[in-house]
């Protein structure tokens, strides 16, 4: 029996082998080529104008933005975090608009126009008529005055007190006219008038309820494109279309601010259409770019990353000015006060490698402190420091920093600022948890150690780092500025009066009398015309570039990934939602 089964199996196997060995029929493809010559003589042309039938924008739809953090308070004069402003900006009108592409101040919000007195101190704003709060009350100059008077009130604890600096008075000339008088001309002061206005008719006249008002969590009225609907803390906030919006009611039903703390989860939710917009991390760019349902908005952001070089002795931090405003000579930093060392550092870094490897291509080299985005003030003729390791080594040699004991670390052998024999040892710090800065720190250490530095790099907790910065007890720090805005005035970083240990932001203790003078002149130009201010900023950039208090690493690039479900999106670097009332569902 078994033998019979085996015989049948063997026969089947043999048959299969024979069949497999047979040649398979090869398909024959015949190509027929044919040439057709078409001759057409046009004897008459007729222009036909086709007017497409206007299709009304599709109503409805909801836009969901993903955020890492939730809002903390929905009051424009109490909030200090960007998440709160993301939500509350829908409700509260502001005096001045901002061009979404250039960032310039424009009369697109409550101020329809304004006049400036000849001395530049008195600004008169004429307000839009017919703008209503959603409860039917008109938005007037009283709301503006109430808001700024509230900021100044002792009953209101707000980090916005500085917005009143230099303002001598705010007067309501009539319900649609405001007059703001400044104590002195300060060309960047207009930015301080951009806070949202509170609805004065819903608050006590003496501001006593501003701090604890339930409106801080649930704004009852809106004069913006959306009205408040619901806020589930740490989960989502929802806003609904404001049918009475003065620029025209949005077509969409509403907007949702959804909190998704983890960046990987945010990307996943963008891919599954649970979110419509997220800030994209550099390592996530490819995923967004390859997704046919998503758009990527890339823009030069108003910030930069830098390595701050402390010019003064961290063992003895001192104020830059005395009480009378005179410069106070600082104890110099034993190593970094030497310009040659700073030049060597600036030349020793491979910026292309840093931008491509650390920032994954999301950056661009800058030469000095004014970004190209502020076009009128930026000096394009200044060239960033070139990566030239031989030049860096030569500069150190010439400055008396040589490696006499050949241990790989240079010592002071006739240098200008340090004691003889002192090694070129410098601490470099950044904040732990910011992996980009940690990677940058490792690369900077590697590159500087390569030419004889002994860089001691450490990543420490952010609050501790801030303490070291403001205390001026650091040597070198990797950090960055964001939200620099559209005005080039950054005197807080360079003016000697802001060199105040414990609080000032000129924590690199940069002292230069000419810079102090230029910074002051640049913001007090009568009329504040950009053409008149620009030369001051060009000279400032040149001096900062040459003095190297900062090594400018890269200008910031922002990336926003967003869905294609609405037509009409036209994001600018300064605003994504500037025309949201015109968006309509794509299908």
């Amino acid at each position: 029996m078994a033998r019979k089964k085996f015989s049948i199996l063997a026969a089947l196997l043999a048959a299969a082998l024979v069949l497999a060995a047979c040649p398979q029929p090869t398909p024959v493809v015949e190509t027929v080529r044919e040439t057709v010559v078409v001759t057409q003589v046009v004897t008459q042309t007729e222009e036909v104008v086709v007017t497409p039938t206007p299709v009304p924008p599709m109503q409805g739809g909801v836009w969901v933005e993903g955020s890492s953090a939730d809002a903390t308070i929905l009051n424009p004069i109490l909030a200090s975090d960007s998440a709160s402003f993301d939500v509350l900006n829908w409700f509260f009108p502001s005096l001045l608009g901002q061009d979404p592409f250039s960032g310039a101040i424009v009369p697109t919000e409550m101020a329809a126009s304004w006049d400036v007195s000849e001395d530049g101190l008195v600004w008169t704003f004429n307000l839009q008529d017919g703008v209503m709060w959603s409860d039917g009350e008109q938005v007037t100059a009283d709301d503006f005055k109430f808001t700024y008077d509230a900021i100044g009130s002792d009953l209101v604890e707000t980090p916005r007190k500085a917005n009143l600096d230099n303002i001598e008075s705010i007067e309501v000339l009539d319900p649609l006219t405001i007059q703001v008088t400044y104590a002195e001309v300060k060309c960047d002061a207009l930015n301080n008038l951009s806070l949202g206005w509170l609805p004065s008719h819903l608050y006590a006249a003496d501001y006593s309820d501003v701090m604890d008002s339930p409106l801080n969590e649930a704004p009852a009225v809106s004069a913006g494109p959306f009205i408040f609907n619901e806020w589930i803390r740490d989960d989502n906030s929802t806003v609904l279309r404001n049918d009475g919006y003065w620029k025209g009611a949005p077509h969409m039903d509403g907007w949702i601010y959804k909190i998704v703390p983890d960046p990987g989860a945010r990307l996943a939710q963008l891919q599954t259409a649970e979110l419509d917009l997220i800030g994209v991390q550099p390592e996530q760019l490819t995923t967004v770019q390859l997704n046919p349902d998503l758009n990527l908005h890339k823009f030069k952001d108003d910030g930069y990353s830098y390595i701050g070089l402390n010019q003064a002795d961290p063992a003895n931090p001192q104020a830059g000015q005395d009480e009378d405003g005179n410069l106070v000579a600082q104890d110099p930093h034993p190593i970094l006060s030497d310009l040659a060392v700073r030049q060597a550092i600036a030349h020793a870094l491979d910026y292309d490698a840093i931008i491509s490897k650390v920032y994954l291509g999301q950056g661009y080299q800058i030469a000095s402190n004014v970004l190209p985005a502020v076009e009128w003030a930026h000096d394009p003729s200044l060239r960033p420091y070139a990566f030239d390791i031989e030049a860096a080594a030569q500069i150190l040699d010439d400055a008396g920093w040589t490696d006499s004991d050949e241990d790989g670390v240079r010592e002071c052998n006739g240098c200008a600022t340090a004691e003889e024999g002192a090694t070129l040892t410098i601490r470099l710090q950044t904040n732990a948890g910011n992996t980009t800065r940690e990677d940058l720190g490792a690369l900077v250490k590697d590159q500087l150690d390569g030419i004889g530095f002994d860089i001691q790099f450490e990543a420490i907790e952010f609050g501790t780092l801030v303490g070291e910065l403001l205390g001026q007890t650091f040597d070198m720090v990797i950090i960055g500025w964001t939200g620099l805005g559209t005005d080039p005035n950054d005197d807080a970083f360079w003016h000697s009066k802001f060199d105040t240990p414990g609080s000032g932001f000129n924590f690199v203790s940069y002292q230069n009398a000419r810079i102090d003078e230029l910074l002051e002149q640049a913001v007090s130009v009568p009329g504040c015309a950009t053409a008149d201010r620009a030369p001051f900023y060009h000279e400032i950039q040149k001096i900062i570039h040459d003095d190297i208090p900062y090594v400018f690493v890269t200008g910031s690039v922002g990336n926003t990934g967003y869905s294609k479900k609405f037509n009409g999106t036209d994001p600018g670097p300064w605003s994504f939602y500037h025309n949201i009332e015109t968006w309509s569902l794509a299908q």
């Binding site: 909801v62 969901v64 953090a69 903390t72 308070i73 200090s80 002792d154 009953l155 604890e157 980090p159 007190k161 500085a162 917005n163 609907n229 619901e230 589930i232 803390r233 740490d234 989960d235 989502n236 929802t238 609904l240 039903d253 509403g254 949702i256 959804k258 909190i259 998704v260 703390p261 983890d262 990987g264 989860a265 996943a268 939710q269 891919q271 599954t272 649970e274 420490i460 907790e461 952010f462 609050g463 501790t464 801030v466 303490g467 403001l470 807080a492 970083f493 802001f498 105040t500 414990g502 609080s503 000032g504 932001f505």
Partner: protein
């Protein structure tokens, strides 16, 4: 029993005091300044910073801040009553001590956990707001842990040294070792993005109405509850395997076998019942595991519960919220342990609670 419970509750008091001192000292002495973190902005003046610091009492030594956190009473040197005239605090100056005593009506001893630095909300309100979300997730995770871990452990014991037993033991080790943030992200990618079967995060499908839908809630629970349950499954399966094997070696089981009771009946009626009793003692640690695991899982899955609140409060150096959450978690853990001890006594009459 009542006396036992009261005694255990009284014993919890020094434990909570110890936890509060250690937690307070650790939190307040950890690096980072909540004011600097919030005001690292050139547009904010130093005066504003100092005012905020003084208002929050952060300018004082941590021991004084601890007293204030406990009692709501703040001590300040000199006559500074005028500073607090406009606030809700009532102050009085004691001349012979040259000290101003201010009572803000709070203090944890009076049931007031303080106010969040980050959101200006009462900490208790924040906890109450988020507790339901954590409870839902925690209960679901505990159920999954029990329903999966117990049968796996028992079957593993029944088939000791089999392939199944080996697999369960390996899976238990892997389940314990897998970082929950990695497992969570992988599950989000696979079930949420690639297959599209489950939502990738959150507690609900967000909409303008946010209406409660039990099916939608259950779908959102699946992945986070699973990730949170993984270590629990590992714990319970190993625990049950050990307990079952121990019970099976006892005399009464040997007797049952000798009397010819069917093997299935021996395992699942005589052995399992007694093996389950010590499981009660594992519930306390399991509750602690779920609460501590929630910190990471809630963050990965955007689940708006207490774990995520604690995590973000720690990042923001929101001391009152972190301390409130620590005290609340400690209380829950103590209560969980107490409950498991009481249940042990109820289930096993041999154990006397006295």
């Amino acid at each position: 029993m009542a006396r036992y419970v009261i005694r255990r509750l009284l014993q919890a008091v020094p434990t909570l005091v110890g936890v509060s001192v250690i937690a307070f000292a650790l939190v307040y002495n950890s690096p980072g300044d909540p004011i600097l973190i919030r005001t690292f902005d050139p547009n904010i003046t130093q005066e504003t910073r100092e005012t905020l610091r003084r208002q929050l009492g952060l300018d004082q030594h941590w021991a004084l801040q601890y007293v204030s956190w406990l009692t709501g009473v703040t001590l300040r040197g000199g006559a500074v009553v005028a500073e607090f005239e406009r606030s809700d605090t009532s102050c009085s100056f004691v001349a012979w001590l040259n000290t101003t005593f201010c009572d803000n009506g709070g203090g944890i001893l009076r049931g007031n956990l303080g106010t969040s630095i980050a959101t200006n909300q009462p900490v208790w309100d924040r906890i109450v707001e988020r507790m339901p979300a954590t409870l839902q997730l925690g209960v679901a995770a505990l159920l999954v842990s029990l329903l999966a871990g117990v049968p796996l452990g028992v079957l593993s014991a029944v088939r000791q040294r089999s392939l199944f037993d080996g697999s369960v033991r390996v899976l238990a080790v892997v389940g314990n070792a897998l970082p929950s943030f990695w497992l969570g992200l992988m599950l989000i990618l696979f079930f949420g993005v690639v297959l599209g079967w489950l939502p990738t995060g959150g507690m609900r499908t967000v909409s303008l109405t946010n209406e409660f839908d039990p099916v939608d809630r259950a779908r959102h629970l699946v992945l986070p509850a699973f990730v949170l349950a993984v270590s629990g499954v590992a714990l319970f399966s190993r625990f049950m395997r050990t307990e079952t094997l121990e019970v099976i070696r006892t005399d009464y089981i040997r007797m049952a076998r000798a009397k010819g009771v069917a093997a299935r009946r021996v395992w699942f009626v005589h052995a399992l019942g007694n093996a389950l009793i010590p499981l009660m003692t594992a519930l306390g640690p399991a509750i602690f595991g779920v609460l501590s695991g929630a910190v990471i899982v809630e963050t990965i899955f955007s689940w708006p519960g207490m774990g995520r609140m604690t995590f973000s409060a720690a990042i923001q150096r929101d001391y009152p919220t972190v301390l409130g959450a620590v005290m609340f978690f400690s209380l829950l853990t103590i209560m969980g342990n107490l409950l498991s001890d009481i249940l042990y006594g109820v289930v096993d009459p041999r154990v006397r609670l006295s």
